[in-house]
């Protein structure tokens, strides 16, 4: 085969496909991970044991919540800009946009931690309070993991060279597949965060 691209003696096709398949499988696993939180929310809410699901004094701070979700949504949008730039080979836009998307994800995580300190109720203040703390924490962990993933992609593209011409075709294909896979999971996670926000801050 004339145009065979190798890493470590192996054709990269399987590795490229692994990004696609792996990211979709990861989404499937995450669906059920988040489903457990959603089930807890709906189950405890409908049982309302001892009328302690959501005592009136427990108020989720919507300002913080809005800020967190806004940071995540903007991160997803900026990431889309970065990804489009990479597809058009404009490397400098990709680098800045990917960095901003990464920092926004970290900002969301930091805001979440600040929110815990400003909560005004403890995790023991009923079913809603417990679910609120656990579910936002569950999202936080995943957001941090995704921030790590995005950082590795960004760092790889920085280290790979100053212009795309420096990198081999195989490396570029791997990078593109990695970006595509990350994007699929990131859009999903941000969508979950938006839905979570709706349930926790507005439905309650």
């Amino acid at each position: 085969m004339a145009d065979q691209q190798l890493i470590e003696g192996e054709d990269i096709q399987a590795a490229v496909r692994n990004y696609w398949v792996g990211s979709r499988l990861w989404i499937a696993g995450l669906v059920f991970y988040f489903l457990a939180f959603a089930f807890s929310f709906l189950y405890l809410r409908s049982l309302n044991a001892n009328h302690m699901w959501h005592p009136a004094k427990v108020q989720a701070p919507a300002v913080w919540g809005t800020a967190i979700v806004a940071a995540l949504v903007v991160s997803a949008i900026v990431f889309t800009i970065a990804r489009t730039a990479l597809e058009r080979n404009s490397l400098s836009i990709w680098r800045w946009a990917a960095l901003v998307a990464f920092l926004l994800a970290l900002t969301a995580a930091a805001l979440q931690i600040v929110e815990y300190r400003e909560l005004g109720f403890g995790p023991g203040a009923g079913g809603f309070a417990s679910t609120f703390v656990a579910w936002t924490g569950g999202v936080l962990v995943v957001v941090l993991g995704m921030a790590y993933w995005l950082e590795t992609i960004w760092a790889t593209s920085i280290r790979a060279g100053t212009t795309l011409a420096d990198t081999s075709r195989g490396e570029r294909r791997m990078l593109a597949a990695n970006v595509e896979g990350f994007g699929a999971v990131w859009y999903f996670v941000v969508a979950v965060a938006v839905a979570t926000y709706g349930l926790l801050y507005w439905v309650g």
């Binding site: 192996e10 692994n18 792996g22 807890s40 189950y43 417990s130």
Partner: protein, 633 residues
């Protein structure tokens, strides 16, 4: 080929080999991490009102386990690659694919090494948990507590149950799945080899963490960890929770990896219709693992929060509900039943045609059966809660879905019967175990119908009938298939023969003694003997004494197996022939031992795996095909 990357120069003194990223470093850093975490947790707990008021600090224990595991995985070398990626180094596919002994004690991305590591881990803890069962049976020789007080007895039961569940979930898919799946689909590696390696070290850590419960006051809940008892239990509960989180994470990752591997790494010509049924069974299992285990992990994380951060998920007084845990647990717990059973069916259907010397009967039906079981098993979980006080109108639905599962399970039995029909069987040890597995699982499955049926479950729930039922499916079904797989693939995986006479004695003794041990327990259950209780009514003593003595003999027969393993593997080391069973399986066409990267050139698959005795059948693969890209169709 990237071999011998880290092979040490011969002149280095032997002790130098102990320094570096390996198990020893992992253990040392794990202990250091635990100490640091427990100290930190102590500091944090002292500042918290609700911890300061009690004499137990769960935060210290959980933080100890968490940092201990960080140290353990760091010492094994699992953070090296993630850190190098953080610094922007390019992706790499694998590392440490070397020869030599050292690779068995470190992170190794050779799937065959991982398979052997799994096998050793599973065998060791199978004997530990089995010894535990012997202690349980010793106590039950008398109707009232004679050796251990009730709480110690409960801890024994919980340790046995949880450890067996953790191990048996990986019993076939761990050693044999990891070793065989890449070879069977014509690949050189798993899709994510570092994740693959990590799961085996998790599977080693989980039972050790679980055993630490003994030093922390034990835990009273059995393997199911029900709340609110779990919320109230002492520090030993933290060991259970951490161990099961580890196991659940490992299950998720194993499922993820196997699915990715089978989707992307198949050799040219390895169509879905040519996939060996062993692989299909692991695929169906992997779907269950990927989708159900995350729910277990979340449920246990909520339990962690209840025990450390005053959340009230599982206590009804403050807006929570113990049913929440029961539902989340069984949403995982029932698919778990098929995570246990399906790999065993894969082994059975893989082995049957080889020893019947005729094609497998009903390949498509078998695949449909496995996928059907996987799909249905998500819709049955509340049959575990029939007598818990759940909404009564829900019961008929769960009763019906549960009974529906016997249809796809029946498919697999029909496949087996159709293959056995008119076969000239070669009654070698692996086939004997498969036949016994089918027999035992049939009893296990039929007894399950009584438990899925709400009216009869009302009387049988929580009794030894349930206990006998689950041992018939897990030990009698999966356990026997594990032995079948071991006796079938041991010559391939180690290149050695085992003692055939001893293996036959093991088979007959274990088959007879298994049934004499567990069949009477159905009767004990019908006669109202409750599970997990250290006392029982005195009229049940004759049955229990019979069962205990039979169980001791069963344990002795397992020792025969252990002796055979150690003797054949470590002492006698008689080389095996390449393909002793005259199998068509791809793994048997490779040289023994299998080369580090399996195939010199990727094979092209040209025929199905089960065309035994078919005139003009092609060999399964052309080994020296042109170097073509990996992947399906």
């Amino acid at each position: 080929m990237q071999t011998d990357v880290i092979a040490a120069p011969a002149s280095r003194p032997a002790w130098r080999g102990l320094i570096g990223f390996n198990l020893l470093t992992g253990i040392v850093l794990g202990i250091v991490g635990f100490a640091v975490g427990a100290w930190l947790g102590g500091m944090i707990g002292d500042g918290l009102r609700w911890v300061g008021q009690s004499d137990e600090n769960d935060i210290a224990i959980f933080l100890g386990f968490a940092l201990g595991l960080v140290g353990y995985f760091g010492g094994l070398g699992f953070f090296n690659y993630p850190i190098s990626r953080l610094l922007g180094h390019p992706p790499s596919l694998r590392e440490y694919d070397s020869e030599g002994w050292g690779r068995y004690f470190r992170m190794c991305t050779d799937h065959k090494v991982v398979g052997i590591q799994y096998l050793v881990v599973i065998l060791i803890f199978f004997f530990v948990a089995g010894f535990n069962a012997m202690m349980i049976r010793t106590e039950l020789l008398r109707p009232s507590p004679s050796i251990w007080p009730a709480d110690t007895y409960l801890t024994l039961v919980g340790e046995h149950g949880t450890m067996m569940m953790v191990l048996m979930s990986a019993a076939v898919i761990g050693p044999f799945g990891n070793y065989l799946i890449p070879i069977m689909i014509g690949a050189r590696r798993m899709a994510f080899p570092r994740i693959e390696s990590m799961t085996v070290w998790m599977t080693l850590a989980a039972p050790i963490v679980l055993l630490s419960a003994i030093g922390l006051g034990g835990f009273p809940t059995g393997w199911t960890g029900y709340t609110p008892l779990a919320d109230q239990a002492n520090l030993g509960m933290d060991s259970y929770i951490t161990a099961f989180i580890l196991a659940g994470t490992a299950l998720t990752l194993v499922g993820f990896n196997i699915l990715a591997t089978v989707f992307t790494m198949r050799a040219p010509g390895m169509t879905w219709g040519r996939l060996p049924l062993f692989v299909w069974a692991q695929v169906a299992t992997a779907i269950l693992m990927l989708l159900s285990a995350p729910v277990l992990v979340t449920a246990l994380l909520l339990a962690v929060l209840d025990r450390t951060a005053t959340t009230t998920f599982f206590t009804s007084g403050n807006g929570g509900s113990p049913y929440l845990f029961e539902n989340l647990f069984w949403f995982f717990g029932h698919p778990e039943v098929y995570i246990l059973a399906l790999p065993g069916f894969g082994v059975a259907l893989e082995i049957l045609p080889v020893f019947c010397r005729k094609p497998l009967w009903g390949y498509g039906m078998a695949v449909a059966g496995m996928l059907g079981i996987a799909a249905l098993s998500f819709m049955v979980w509340q049959h575990h809660l029939f007598v818990s006080g759940i909404n009564a109108p829900l019961r008929p639905f769960y009763m019906l879905t549960t009974e529906l599962i016997s249809v796809p399970t029946g498919f697999l039995f029909i496949n087996a019967m159709g293959t056995l029909w008119n076969a000239r069987m070669r009654l070698e040890v692996p086939l004997l175990f498969v036949l016994a597995q089918l027999f035992n699982f049939l009893i296990g499955g039929l007894s399950g119908i009584f438990l899925s049926d709400t009216p009869s479950d009302v009387t049988l729930h929580g009794s030894y009938f349930v206990m006998a039922h689950l041992h018939y499916t897990i030990l009698g079904g999966l356990g026997f298939s594990l032995f079948a797989a071991f006796y079938y693939w041991f010559p391939k995986m180690t290149g050695l023969q085992y003692n055939m006479r001893l293996a036959r004695i093991h088979f007959w003794s274990v088959f007879i003694l298994f049934n004499t041990t567990f069949a009477p327990l159905f009767a004990a259950g019908i006669l109202d003997m409750p599970r997990r209780a250290v006392t029982y009514a005195s009229y049940l003593q004759p049955i229990n004494d019979w069962v205990s003595i039979s169980a001791f003999l069963l344990g002795g027969s397992m020792l025969l197996f252990g002796i055979n393993v150690v003797y054949s593997w470590a002492i006698a080391r008689k080389p095996a022939v390449d393909n002793p069973w005259h199998s068509r399986g791809i793994e048997w066409q490779l040289p023994t031992p299998v080369p580090v990267h399996n195939f010199e050139r990727l094979p092209v698959i040209v025929a199905g795996p089960y065309d035994y005795g078919v005139p003009g059948a092609l060999p399964v693969m052309q080994p020296e095909a042109a170097a073509a890209p990996a992947g399906g169709e």
